[in-house]
Symmetry: C2
């Protein structure tokens, strides 16, 4: 298999932490999104959606969804388990992965892509152009901050978000906090649980191996 | 466990098809979202997010994410398998479940909640109020139609979307097509693969058991 990465972008960073936690070595190509390399004829042959991360499998098919890549790697390499082992753990990891994504990560993406001039007409990733919506950028920021309150409350007395172990939910939530900072949304000083967890996750070798976020 | 349902709303319909495919009988309470029952003191004690579907577990914890509920039921009742069995099937089901959700279901929800007068100030589900954004309703409709083109192409020569078997990806995509009709977006007559698949899925007993969509 071959992995297409861009170490500064949030979705590849989620996959990268996942790969690092598993201790996997995968052949990797960097697609520089800031130089528009995702639109090169060569890369569009691999992934016509013009997005990274993506994982090209040995049968030639391509996974272009972050969570599909992670679940594939989990199925091939179950240890350490990052999606939960028991039915209850599986459910809790999914519950909190989804909440982090729906209430935090996607709103942060809305804020960035609808707010920054360099995404003019590129408000949605993928092959089609969509105009920016300034109001959606503002809604995205408000929703991120609201999610940080949720996360702070959830982390009271807890080391990890979903279960007793580090999981995919922690990965998505951590990258969400990083990502939201790019649009100016940060945890407040009163969010002690969130700040403690964020610091601890940031010290994991899997996260320290990432390039500094933009 | 106890399941909280509203048979006319898209996310509960996804769970209901899933439950029906598994042949499960679960104690169920109907929460009428059109009468505002999700804001009753009694229901807010179960799910402070004021959303259905949700599943109250025997330990008192509550799953409020559609896919967390489905994955919990799959873990408890693995047959028939709806999230894929081999690593490649797992990956493909997730790839297409996510695409259906990100490119179809969520844009349909954007269109409905930002466009219909009855969702004024309720543009995002959950406990917080957000003003509608008319431009986002229009973007949602355009994205739904674009996704139908993707789906039609994917279904060429295929019975099901992700693998050789009916899966969670078919469920999300089917409910997306139903849902998009509520905002006036329908497959065009030229989308023969999509129309064939939609008709076939609609004839499954798990889907026929649903109330007619609004």
């Amino acid at each position: 298999m071959k992995y297409y990465d861009f170490g500064l972008a949030p979705n590849p960073r989620r996959v990268n932490v996942f790969i690092n936690e598993k201790g996997l070595k995968i052949e990797t190509a960097e697609i520089n999104l800031r130089n528009g390399e995702q639109f090169s004829a060569e890369f569009l042959k691999v992934n016509p959606l013009a997005t990274v991360p993506c994982l090209e499998l040995d049968d030639g098919s391509v996974l272009s969804e972050t969570m599909a890549i992670c679940r594939y790697l989990e199925a091939l390499h179950p240890t350490p388990c990052l999606f939960g082992a028991t039915p209850l753990e599986v459910a809790r990891v999914e519950q909190w992965s989804r909440r982090a994504e729906m209430e935090g990560f996607l709103p942060a993406a809305d804020a960035l892509r609808n707010g920054e001039p360099r995404f003019a007409n590129r408000a949605v990733p993928g092959p089609r152009d969509y105009a920016q919506i300034a109001e959606l950028a503002e809604r995205g920021k408000a929703r991120c901050l609201a999610f940080f309150e949720v996360l702070d409350k959830q982390l009271a007395g807890r080391e990890f978000i979903a279960t007793e172990a580090f999981s995919a939910a922690d990965i998505t939530a951590y990258i969400t906090v990083e990502f939201a900072a790019r649009v100016g949304v940060k945890p407040t000083a009163t969010m002690g649980n969130l700040l403690r967890w964020y610091k601890a996750v940031g010290e994991r070798p899997s996260v320290r191996a990432l390039p500094a976020p933009p």
